[in-house]
């Protein structure tokens, strides 16, 4: 069974890493930023599970590392809405966290398409701007 077959839910990812989600996230988030923190953590655990614990080694110029690019243009504006756009290979530099990098294009695409709702809360701006409403819409 491939890792893609094994990791079908976020619960699968926590289980694969020997973690309990309720002990890892903020169980009762009080605001959008805590929700962002939770979804970021979910994505970290998901990535670690799909990579089967492998960490990127940026000292290795031959190692292929894959990062996900996202459409952020809304449906209302004629875009596809938040969704997977493409995977991009990078060498020693990165725009994204080493903790969110994959090694296999198929695995990255699986994460982006199957788990887009995990990424959405921290990749997009909160629908309800912060507790103190400090952001200008």
């Amino acid at each position: 069974m491939s890792i893609i077959d094994k990791i079908q839910t976020i619960t699968d990812a926590y289980t694969a890493r020997g973690l309990k989600r309720e002990e890892t996230i903020i169980v009762e988030p009080k605001n959008e930023f805590q929700e962002i923190a939770n979804s970021f953590i979910d994505a970290l655990v998901l990535t670690a599970a799909l990579n089967e614990g492998r960490e990127p080694n940026y000292a290795d110029p031959k190692e292929e590392r894959v990062s996900i690019w996202w459409y952020l243009r809304s449906v209302a504006a004629g875009g596809p809405g938040f969704s997977y756009h493409d995977c991009v290979y990078a060498t020693s530099y990165s725009f994204v966290s080493a903790r969110l990098v994959f090694f296999d294009w198929k695995v990255a695409k699986h994460a982006a398409t199957k788990f887009s709702e995990v990424y959405k809360p921290f990749m997009t701006f909160p629908d309800k701007p912060t507790v103190n409403n400090f952001l200008i819409k």
Binding site: F40, W70, G79, A98, P126
Partner: protein, 136 residues
């Protein structure tokens, strides 16, 4: 006084936005995952402050949005260590970087990357990695 003069510390960013860090983050992070999440939220707050509360509009294809590129190579491997990289670039409607970490001005992005490197390093790298890669 420019916004980069005003925001000299992470605390300045929270104060500028009028929010309490303890209400946004894990008050006592238990592992590197929670520390990374806290740093991500700190970076979000820094970005909002340095952007003077302006939110990117990915529906606007004419709006330039700047994302920071990082050289991830350690000094031990002959790299510069985790640091701002010249690959820092502009995006419009697609991005690998969260909307809440996007800047509008290159000089502000470079300021954030160089002044607050440690904030980014905590969630961008595996430093102090404990929970994710030693369990399971």
């Amino acid at each position: 006084m420019s916004i980069t003069d005003k925001i000299q510390t992470v605390t300045d960013a929270y104060t500028y936005l009028g929010v309490d860090r303890s209400e946004m983050t894990f008050p006592e992070p238990k592992n590197d995952i929670q520390r990374a999440a806290n740093a991500f939220v700190d970076a979000t707050i820094l970005t909002a402050a340095l952007n003077e509360r302006r939110e990117p509009d990915f529906d606007d294809l004419n709006e330039s949005k700047c994302i920071i590129g990082w050289d991830m190579r350690s000094e031990a491997s002959g790299g510069p260590g985790f640091s701002y990289d010249v690959s820092t670039t502009f995006v419009r409607s697609v991005s690998p970087v969260a909307a809440c970490l996007v800047f509008f001005k290159l000089e502000v992005a470079i300021y954030a990357a160089s002044k607050f490197t440690e904030v980014y390093k905590t969630f961008m790298t595996f430093q102090a990695s404990i929970a994710l890669h030693t369990i399971g």
